[in-house]
Symmetry: C2
Subunit: 186 residues, 2 copies
DNA sequence: GTCTATAGTTTGATAGAC
DNA sequence: GTCTATCAAACTATAGAC
């Protein structure tokens, strides 16, 4: 793997544990095994790194959603996989979704990074909306309301469930918070 | 107001905007109007400040829940007030619940602070559980599941809704995420 | 209780050799 | 591309005068 990618991977890893203001170039240098001055060759400023991190995260997230869509045509299957993916991202209570971690540090981010953050949420929201729209047709989810509202509610729920589970370092808290929603799935 | 309280108020304010790793003694000194060295008289280390912040936050939150209980005996009224209180805490998309902000910076907190964080979540969860238990009796909420699961789901939802709204600085996002739940209230 | 002064560390970032 | 060397600024924290 090239150094740039290795840096991005490492940065994502630590940012999802500690937030944007909670990691430094020194942390990355130590982990990747180069000097911190060398990092500036790949990312001149931390703001550049932040943008690249969100871009990479959104891209891989988008890929994951595409895989979910390919795996099943049933809305309930897709939503279950979605909830499961946020559970997996928790890493046993040690990590958060990158965008959850970055949302808290909003004031430290550049305009460009905030735009990327916004794009990520838009993409997630749209995928969820379409999936709830499908659920209305295939009847695989009980009691479906306005897809726009359902999408916003589920996005908030998985992000909040991650947060609560992270606070206590207990995946069980994530499971408890999402249980009633999963019961609505066929 | 005494300086200690003023410092706590100010620290809460900035921590809810920027997270635990996002503010410094210099920020507080500037805002409160004393030198940063003076802050150490009240809070020897930042870890001490963190503990006092959560204590104060949990205490005022607990008071707010007591007021809600006094205002109405109907479960749906109480839950609506609960959701509303998280909305108000958003401050137009500028702030988060202190415990949401601190959960992200978990690794920077002392054991004592983490314990306080845990206590806060326990208190919230218990109040919600009792309220959903009441809802089962007074039928003011539609389709109530296991109170324990309902409590966890709602806590996750309001915290997640705050986060999404904070990311975009749009209170409307909070409203959209909580709309379907509020529809279940009588 | 608040101040000045300062220590010791860490931060993000740059210059220039290799 | 990575290094050494260095910078100025910010950080938490302490000592001691008032």
């Amino acid at each position: 793997m090239d150094t740039r990618t290795e840096l991005l991977k490492c940065a994502e890893n630590v940012a999802r544990r500690r937030g944007y203001d909670g990691f430094s170039y020194a942390d990355l240098a130590k982990e990747v095994g180069i000097r911190k001055a060398s990092i500036h060759y790949h990312f001149p400023a931390k703001a550049d790194l932040a943008v690249a991190m969100i871009e990479r995260y959104a891209s891989s997230f988008s890929d994951a959603l595409a895989v979910i869509d390919e795996t099943s045509d049933i809305a309930s299957d897709r939503l279950e996989a979605y909830v499961q993916s946020y559970r997996k991202a928790l890493s046993g209570g040690a990590k958060l979704c990158l965008c959850v971690a970055f949302s808290v540090s909003r004031d430290s981010l550049s305009k460009e990074a905030l735009q990327e953050l916004d794009d990520f949420h838009s993409m997630s929201h749209e995928w969820l909306m379409n999936t709830f729209q499908l659920a209305k047709k295939d009847n695989s989810v009980s009691n479906v309301g306005d897809p726009k509202d359902e999408a916003a509610a589920l996005l908030a729920m998985v992000e909040g469930a991650q947060l609560v589970a992270r606070a206590a370092c207990k995946v069980a808290d994530y499971d408890r918070a999402t249980r009633l929603f999963l019961k609505r799935l066929a």
